[in-house]
């Protein structure tokens, strides 16, 4: 098959992108491609030009398609050559040097140029702009502006739109005094309303840029060089250079010259073809679709896709339906998000607005029929992603408008369950969709526990559990069946935690099998075993009868199982403090046992990963360090910042405190893991405020004790339980809280869930004020647990039972 000839006029972001998209669809087999580009280079990212001007990017960094790209793809690029003529009947495009390129299909992507309003003294008689007058559109403009700016003092930018402001910022970096002269009443009229514009103006002026509004420039003063500006009101402004940034005009001349319909741009249909000629497409800033012209990059990408789909025949029904314009940008360090209209257009349009000029914050939303039709965020754009999605998809907004502007408590549900599509993934750990949950409810499982058991939704990190429960409730129309196990400590024993504790103590049940025998009718439940083992250990301490089969593999083998069945070994290293001898020992062991990965953990310890089960006891013996319990539902470790020994900000000895904490609570079984930290000052370098328990030194020799922090699948800043005067008091109150948590939390309930459920006031009353008169007993329990601690690695060479660490046993015969 002979190839068709495809000619693309324009080698900017639109032209090059559409060619890329065509090549992606196998277009190289269909088309012999030629391109005309007025600029002498490959295609670069024009959006980043202002960053080149301000020095944050180098020229070569903004290239999207360097010259080699064209060679690699056999594209004939006429670089630095403008297309000057188009003959539709002959199907020929001429370059300005007269070279013809015949075409079967043609794409016009000529983009636009700077619009220069009529002003006296803009040009010189010899032709071209007066020296010192620039537009800001190309890499070459950028170079010339930079060259001129060096050695000059004052610059005026005419036009207070986005590009003008970016140019102003770039020029400031050359040490110039910069003035922005704007015809309109506020800055960035395309994206902002008057209120936001005023705040932006203040922010810019605070940065040293002088803004002149409602100023119509009538003349650029000076004979050979720029001396200043004159305005319609007669005033003048002295300056050494002028950047004109007053908008763009589409480069439609070549299209109009051959009789194609042109209004503000080349008029195209939904396939981006000229309405007059099905072999000619137009894309990007030069195209006018359903009366709209787009100057942003996102619509351009959408258009390019449609052209590529259509021209290659990959999808002959591909159609462009216009774009909803939303943009996020940064002007002079001020973050801006803007979408749709900037002011209400009908009396029924609802406006939700917040303004805090002093902090440079402004938020405004325009809502029509419950849907977002426009929005401006300035300064704080934290809600931009959510709002832009709601705008783009036209989704209904929540009734409570306040939460559109601010995050209040939990993030708002973006859609109701009814609107949520069936394939929306609810559980991201186990990949369970809403549809799967619904099917499960339909099949007869009518409570959250049953659905979670059947689908595993919520059984990974657990952060979606409440959402799963809500979906089940919604699917059941609010009539869920009571789950008898919901109040039980573990599903397999029908007792609440207090009932279970009472029964265990009264009946002297010291092993998991005894609990099943006497409290569950002899019926063993696998999933309930680890929870029972944990609680029995808390209650009986040294007297607890450890049955290995009741423990999860990690606690059975004192190591953390990995995806390939190997284990990880983490020796104790409280406060993240180690020494050369210890490091040598760890290095020796890692080499001896061919440990494939040695990694620092988040808890400031060293993790030896990929250890074979059979090697575990030998490694522990060779390490000769205590277990770090990095595998258990237990106290894990206490990390620390440098504290007061070396840090010049440290006001409390966080290292010593961390060591004391570890010695006090090491190896404690608990409903879930407990990760701790101490910080020597409120800078919180060790993240103590988001730990299960944390201690933070504050001025005056005091320590704040935080509880219920989380920074895993849930994120929560801990609550301050109390502020105390000494290390010893930190240990005392932390211990009381830990014991209270161990006795009252559900199995696998982290401290953040527990603190939220019980409430910080209640916990403070019990632990600090001793409102229930149990403080002494809690302290005693802690002391007994501490005394019962034994390093599980110490007796590794005397295994709990034969073959405990054998991955494979030989066969007799």
């Amino acid at each position: 098959m002979t190839k068709q000839k495809l000619v693309v006029i324009g080698n900017g972001m639109a032209g090059a992108r559409v060619v890329e998209d065509i090549l992606d669809r196998g277009g190289a087999k269909q088309f012999d491609i030629a391109m005309f580009g007025e600029e002498p280079t490959g295609n670069y990212n024009r959006i980043l030009l202002s960053n080149v001007l301000n020095g944050s990017y180098k020229e070569e960094e903004i290239f999207l398609n360097p010259m080699e790209w064209y060679q690699e793809h056999n594209i004939r690029l006429h670089a630095g050559r403008k297309a000057s003529g188009l003959l539709r009947r002959a199907k020929l495009v001429y370059g300005e040097d007269g070279v013809p390129e015949p075409y079967d299909k043609l794409i016009i992507a000529t983009g636009s140029r700077a619009f220069i309003p009529p002003m006296e003294g803009t040009t010189i008689p010899a032709g071209g702009l007066k020296p010192g007058v620039f537009v800001f559109r190309t890499l070459e403009d950028c170079r010339q502006i930079a060259a001129w700016a060096k050695g000059n003092r004052t610059a005026a930018v005419i036009g207070g739109g986005l590009l003008g402001l970016e140019a102003a910022r770039g020029l400031q970096n050359f040490g110039l005094d910069v003035h922005v002269v704007h015809l309109g009443g506020h800055l960035m009229q395309q994206q902002l309303d008057a209120g936001a514009g005023a705040i932006l103006r203040s922010s810019m002026e605070a940065l040293g840029i002088k803004v002149h509004l409602n100023k119509s420039t009538t003349a650029i003063l000076g004979g050979e060089n720029v001396l200043g500006l004159r305005f319609a009101d007669g005033a003048t402004l002295e300056c050494d250079m002028v950047i004109i940034s007053t908008g763009i005009r589409a480069n439609w001349e070549i299209a109009a010259g051959c009789g194609l319909t042109v209004e503000r741009g080349v008029v195209v249909d939904d396939q981006m073809r000229s309405v007059d000629d099905p072999n000619i497409y137009a894309v990007g800033e030069v195209a006018q679709h359903r009366g709209h012209m787009y100057g942003l990059v996102a619509p351009l990408w959408e258009q390019a896709k449609v052209v590529a789909d259509h021209i290659t025949g990959k999808n002959t029904r591909a159609a462009y339906h216009g774009s909803k314009v939303a943009t996020k940008l940064k002007v002079m360090g001020v973050e801006v998000a803007s979408m749709g209209i900037v002011d209400p257009q009908t009396p029924d349009d609802e406006v939700v607005q917040f303004s805090e000029p002093k902090r440079g914050t402004y938020k405004k939303l325009i809502i029509r029929d419950g849907r977002l039709v426009g929005g401006i965020l300035l300064g704080d754009i934290g809600k931009a992603a959510y709002l832009m999605q709601a705008f783009d998809r036209n989704t209904p907004l929540p009734e409570e408008r306040l939460q559109l502007l601010f995050d209040i408590g939990d993030p708002p549900k973006q859609v109701t369950f009814a609107e949520m599509s069936a394939n929306t993934q609810v559980c991201n750990c186990n990949g369970v969709s809403k549809g799967t949950i619904l099917a499960c409810v339909t099949s007869g499982r009518r409570n959250a526990r049953a659905v979670m058991d059947a689908t595993r939704a919520g059984m990974g990190c657990g952060s979606c559990k409440s959402m799963v429960a809500e979906i089940v409730e919604w699917a059941c129309g609010g009539e869920t069946e009571e789950d008898p196990s919901v109040h039980s400590y573990v599903p397999g024993v029908p007792l609440t935690k207090p009932e279970l504790i009472r029964a265990v103590l009264e009946r002297n049940l010291k092993s998991v099998s005894a609990v099943f025998d006497l409290l569950a009718g002899g019926k063993e439940d696998a999933a309930s075993k680890p929870g029972l083992a944990s609680l029995l250990k808390v209650l009986w301490k040294a007297e607890y009868v450890d049955e290995k089969d009741a423990r999860f593999v990690n606690e059975r083998l004192h190591a953390n199982i990995q995806k390939d069945g190997t284990f990880s070994v983490v020796p104790q290293m409280p406060g993240g403090i180690t020494n050369p001898a210890q490091l040598r020992q760890i290095a020796f062991v890692a080499e001896k046992y061919h440990v494939p990965l040695v990694k620092l953990t988040g808890g400031q310890r060293i993790d030896l990963l990929g250890v074979r089960k059979d090697d575990l006891p030998k490694m522990w013996r060779d390490l000769d360090m205590p277990s770090g319990f990095a595998y258990g539902k237990s106290y894990r470790t206490c990390k620390s910042c440098v504290g007061s020994d070396f840090c010049r900000f440290g006001i409390g000895d966080s290292i010593t405190l961390a060591l004391k904490i570890e010695a006090e609570f090491q190896g404690f079984d608990s409903p879930h893991k407990m990760k701790l930290a101490t910080a020597g000052c409120p800078r919180n370098c060790s993240e103590a405020m988001v730990k299960d328990l944390g201690a933070v030194a504050v001025e005056g020799g005091r320590w704040e004790i935080y509880i219920g922090g989380a920074a895993g699948s849930s994120i929560r800043k801990g609550d301050i339980m109390c502020v105390v005067d000494s290390h010893e008091e930190v240990l005392k109150y932390m211990g009381r809280f830990i014991q209270y948590y161990r006795e009252n939390a559900k199995y696998l309930e982290r401290t953040h869930g527990f603190v939220t459920r019980v409430g910080i006031d209640k916990i403070r009353a019990v632990v600090v004020e001793d409102s229930e008169g149990i403080a002494d007993r809690l302290d005693r329990e802690i002391a007994e647990s501490k005394a019962a601690w034994a390093d599980p690695w110490k007796n590794a060479l005397l295994p709990a039972n034969e073959g405990q660490f054998s991955s494979l046993l030989p066969v007799l015969q």
Partner: protein, 103 residues
């Protein structure tokens, strides 16, 4: 592979602690043998069909087995999946005197 019909003496039943399991190499095939607290003895393939988890390190309650990696559940008596997409291969096994005999 194990030859059909042939019996294998795996060793003393005391090598498997009550409630736990051990893995045996049977002519190159890895077989996990379980000894639940409620009595009986069961032999199944050693690796979970999901992602190869070591089933002998799993938790057993009654005759239900939970894989330690991602919680797939199986019935030891039949090998059927109670949670998960496919079941386990099972092997006939018995205790003869003190010896575990496969096949």
């Amino acid at each position: 592979m194990m030859t059909k019909g042939a019996e294998k003496k795996l060793g003393s039943v005391s090598a498997i602690p009550v409630g736990e399991a051990r893995v045996f190499d049977v002519d190159g095939e890895r077989v996990a043998v379980f000894r639940p607290r409620g009595g009986g003895i069961y032999a199944v393939q050693a690796e979970c069909p999901h992602k190869g988890g070591p089933l002998a390190d799993g938790l057993v309650g009654g005759t239900t087995l939970i894989c330690p990696l991602h919680g797939w559940k199986f019935d030891l008596t039949t090998g059927a999946a109670l949670f998960g997409e496919c079941g386990l291969k099972t092997f006939p096994v018995r205790v003869d005197e003190d010896l575990v005999v496969l096949g």
